[in-house]
């Protein structure tokens, strides 16, 4: 139940593919998150109020304010120009932004890539496409930074609905979960086989 004075949990999603942005936006909005999507790392930094070049022209985004405060960043790894990893680094190097959890999405399950991102401070690394189950796994790790929407019931009902329909496919879905590397610390590390 949303308390009137609370601002919604705001996610900034970064991906150069419009298809991916559309998917992730819908997934997050359906899960009651507020979403902003941008198509590049540099636009993400601009939105977050971190200008690379102080002399740059007027920003296309309003100044980073409390109302637009971002509570979570989800970024694609492979992007032209600034990669998701580069973006992650810049965020963690910034005193203003380093506490914002960053999640990396990748279409490739590359162990060295995963390690690299986690070592740089990423909260988690998920395989694309992002699923409701990924958000459910992530949510407990976010609650310390901000009150997340009442996800438990929402996810339970969504997943219950999905598993009812996909009863036949459940085995395959479980396989997917095994493939997904969602890690938030060395004790949870899954080492995928190549």
């Amino acid at each position: 139940m949303e308390i009137a004075t609370q601002t919604p949990f705001h996610v900034l999603a970064v991906d150069d593919s419009s298809l991916e942005r559309k998917l992730i936006e819908k997934l997050l909005k359906t899960s009651s998150y507020q979403v902003t999507t941008v198509d590049s790392g540099s636009k993400a930094l601009e939105f977050l109020g971190l200008k690379e070049d102080q002399k740059s022209n007027a920003s296309t985004f309003p100044l980073y304010q409390k109302e637009t405060k971002v509570n979570l960043i989800i970024t694609d790894y492979c992007m032209p120009g600034m990669s998701g990893y580069d973006l992650l680094k810049k965020i963690k190097e910034s005193s203003a932004l380093r506490d914002i959890p960053v999640v990396i999405l990748s279409s490739e399950n590359v162990p060295s890539r995963v390690t690299r991102c986690l070592e740089e401070g990423a909260e988690a690394f998920f395989l694309k496409p992002l699923k409701f189950s990924d958000l459910a796994r992530l949510e407990p790790h976010l609650s310390k930074s901000k009150d997340v929407p009442e996800m438990h019931n929402l996810f339970k009902s969504k997943m219950g609905l999905m598993s009812k329909r996909n009863k036949r496919k459940r085995g395959e879905q479980d396989e997917n979960l095994h493939e997904t590397v969602g890690v938030t610390g060395p004790r949870l590390k899954l080492t995928p086989s190549d």
Partner: protein, 160 residues
């Protein structure tokens, strides 16, 4: 207009797409995301997919035509294409993309192999193009049927 029949045809076409492996469970995710706020979500996503994939495939076509031996570049295009296929559940296309990337990887052996690998890539790419074309055709028919059948007015959702 026999809406029930049209709806039945659409359901049958859809079932065929899953049974024959053209689509996988990721497509269910897309359907699950469709709601009153986004009543045409699945079709919109699929449209985006065919737009993006056509562009990528044109790039790959061009590269192969010019006998470009930059297999890394081909691999990057193919990775993007495969990624899009994964996101909408285009299973057969995804499989062919993987096969193509395997061809490129063989290029790690330098030298005179590159032409024969290029040949393999070209043949593999023909398969991708075929799958792409068939999938587009089937999905276009499917969405057309859905449109003709009109919105489902009753509260029950179609049988999955």
């Amino acid at each position: 207009m026999d809406y029930v029949n049209l709806r039945r045809q659409a359901a049958s076409l859809r079932k065929g797409l899953f049974d024959q492996g053209y689509l996988d469970e990721q497509f269910y995710q897309l359907e699950d995301l469709q709601d009153d706020a986004s009543p045409n979500f699945v079709e919109e996503v699929v449209t985006l997919f065919f737009r993006d994939s056509a562009r990528l495939m044109a790039n790959i076509d061009q590269a192969l035509d010019k006998c470009v031996k930059d297999f890394n570049k081909l691999d990057v295009y193919m990775q993007q294409l495969k990624g899009s296929c994964t996101s909408i559940g285009a299973s057969r296309m995804k499989t062919e993309c993987t096969a193509f990337r395997e061809c490129c990887r063989d290029e790690n052996i330098e030298g005179s192999h590159s032409l024969s690998i290029l040949n393999l890539c070209m043949r593999s790419f023909q398969k991708i193009k075929r799958e792409h074309s068939v999938l587009r055709q089937k999905l276009e028919s499917y969405f057309q049927l859905l449109r003709q059948a009109g919105p489902v007015e009753c509260a029950t959702r179609p049988n999955k």
